[in-house]
């Protein structure tokens, strides 16, 4: 019995250690943002990777999400005789909630996993040791550009998701369910306020930090994973990173919503 | 490290003294390229040179390349000790014209 308690204690201590490590990691990455010289080339490369090349999946998932939302809401609203509120229902759901969350999930799948794997491989191949020995801070040269690229790209991608989602809702509402197009757009303009948009931006910003921080952090400390090495360790931390960022993101979503709604 | 220029027949002679490394090779580069771009043939005098690193070597290589483009010549005189070993290690002793001393050139 005591062995179990010991194990539980050890696991808890380990968890605290990990949180501590990741916090220091984030702190140093943020410091890396203000160090000279900043890796602009890397920043642009990462914006292209995180931002530009995520566009196709954001467009697709945004479109389908908007379409499904419209179908869903039509059914609900019809029962209350308020189908003309479709526009505001779809847009509010997207802007406040689904836009940031779905964009984040798509990016966790695409960017989170590959960034974590990339950083983990760099660690395994001693690339960070090499950088340190060349007196080049890994935080400034590798991590900070990725953090900044995420902060710039993800809110923009969220906005794109929202827009294409609203368009998807329009397509379903107007062409499939026969609602009035102008009414759809009008309700949107009437209902959406600046605080809704602010919620979208704030959430997407927070999610961006969470995603890139956890992915990079887990990869960076892959060498501390017990019992595995090489390719297997990369796979393990990538899985952990994806799961951890998703759960943390959803938790943050709840906290943010409770403050901002 | 110090360097200065003198004339020998129609050549400009660049005397290098001391050690050439990352901290001062840019100065040497500027001087050497100026001389060459003005259309002068150059003899780089290594007699006072005790050490030259890769940035110094790279400067000389760039000088030789520029000289070739401008149809002038670049020679190295009195290479000895560590600088000579670097020339051998990099096989640049087969690329540069090496002479024993500036006075060997009589025309």
């Amino acid at each position: 019995m005591f062995a179990q308690i010991e194990k539980l204690g050890a696991a808890t201590i380990q968890k605290f250690e990990e949180v501590g490590r990741l916090s220091v990691f984030l702190y140093r990455t943020v410091l890396g943002l203000v160090s000279r010289p900043f890796g602009f080339k890397e920043l642009l490369k990462q914006i292209a990777f995180i931002g530009a090349r995520s566009m196709p999946i954001i467009l697709l998932s945004g479109l389908f999400t908007g379409m499904v939302l419209a179908l869903q809401f039509y059914d609900v609203l019809a029962r209350f005789g308020s189908v003309d509120l479709m526009g505001s229902a779809v847009s509010l759901s997207l802007i406040q909630e689904l836009g940031p969350v779905m964009t984040a999930l798509m990016l966790i799948a695409r960017v989170g996993s590959s960034t974590c794997a990339e950083i983990a491989i760099m660690r395994n191949e001693q690339q960070f040791d090499a950088l340190t020995c060349m007196a080049i801070s890994p935080y400034r040269y590798v991590m900070a550009p990725r953090l900044l690229a995420a902060i710039i790209s993800i809110p923009l991608l969220t906005a794109v998701f929202n827009l294409i989602g609203i368009f998807g809702g329009y397509v379903v509402g107007v062409f499939i369910k026969g609602l009035s197009g102008t009414a759809y757009m009008q309700t949107i303009i009437d209902t959406i306020t600046w605080s809704d948009l602010r919620m979208s931006i704030v959430k997407s910003f927070i999610f961006a930090v969470i995603i890139i921080w956890i992915s990079m952090g887990k990869g960076f400390f892959v060498h501390l994973e017990k019992g595995v090495s090489g390719a297997e360790s990369v796979g393990r931390v990538t899985t952990k990173a994806v799961v951890a960022s998703a759960i943390t993101m959803l938790f943050a979503d709840y906290i943010a919503s409770s403050f901002l709604i | 490290m110090s360097f200065d220029c003198s004339d020998h027949l129609h050549y400009k002679v660049l005397h290098l003294t001391g050690e050439i490394d990352l901290s001062n090779s840019s100065e040497v580069r500027r001087c050497l390229l100026d001389i060459i771009n003005q259309g002068n043939s150059v003899i780089v005098d290594f007699s006072g040179l005790t050490y030259i690193d890769s940035s110094g070597m790279a400067t000389l290589v760039e000088g030789l390349n520029t000289a070739n483009k401008k149809n002038v010549s670049l020679m190295i005189a009195a290479a000895n000790g560590a600088p000579l070993q670097v020339l051998e290690l990099t096989r640049l002793n087969q690329v540069f014209s090496l002479i024993d001393s500036v006075s060997d050139i009589q025309e």
């Binding site: 760099m122 690339q127 040791d129 090499a130 | 990352l22 890769s54 790279a58 990099t90």
Partner: protein, 270 residues
Amino acid sequence: MNRNFAESSVLIDVKNLNSGYGNRHVLHDINLSVNDGEILVIMGGSGSGKSTLLRNMLGLKKPSEGQILIDGMDLCHANKSELLKLRRSMGVAFQGGALLSSLSVGENIKLPLRQHTDLDENTINIMMRLKLELMNLAGYEDLMPSELSGGMLKRAGLARAVIMDPKILFFDEPSAGLDPVTSVELDQLILKLRKAMNMTIVVVTHELESAFTIADRIAVLFDGELVTTGTVGEIKTCTDERVVNLINRSPRDIQIDAEKYLSRLTKGAN
């Protein structure tokens, strides 16, 4: 760094080094010095603590006790600019090269120059190519690390390590994964570098032939302890059992217990 050191002055001084990971104490009271201009080979089997010792000397790991002095400066207590100066004069060639995967070979080699010097782009390019030629990698500058073989990666890593003509070169397992011919070539290159550039070189290896070829002195590690240091001749005639075992590893001399061997081979058979 002052290049006018007397031949016998100590460049790297490891004093009473104790280092470990968590509760695991790896290195015990290591005292080691490396003289200016010499090639020191650190040898030991796996688990002897070679990598930990190297990481401490490179400033990648802090010791739990003891000091590492490089050119008189304490590695653990150096401030940022002192550390920068030290690192600029230390080149490190890692096992496997440790090139950055997102940069081409040429860009990798140029990286320290770009970050730490104001040299003209032409100069930097020529310097990079000079080093590639030295490593027999001429023409590979535009390839990505993923396109190179293990041996080429090592040589590219070495090219990067020496691009700034460092005073001290650290080489982690140069021969690992190399065919004998390339290994011999690499040994000769190490000797040439010392001669022409007056480099002090610390090599961590387990390859006996290489060690005996290049070393001025050899330091033998066993189980986290420094067993002995000496010239190649001294090591070869050393009577300490651990050193003898290290040098004379020949499978055919190992006595086997025939019965136990047979039962190991046929375990679980009917």
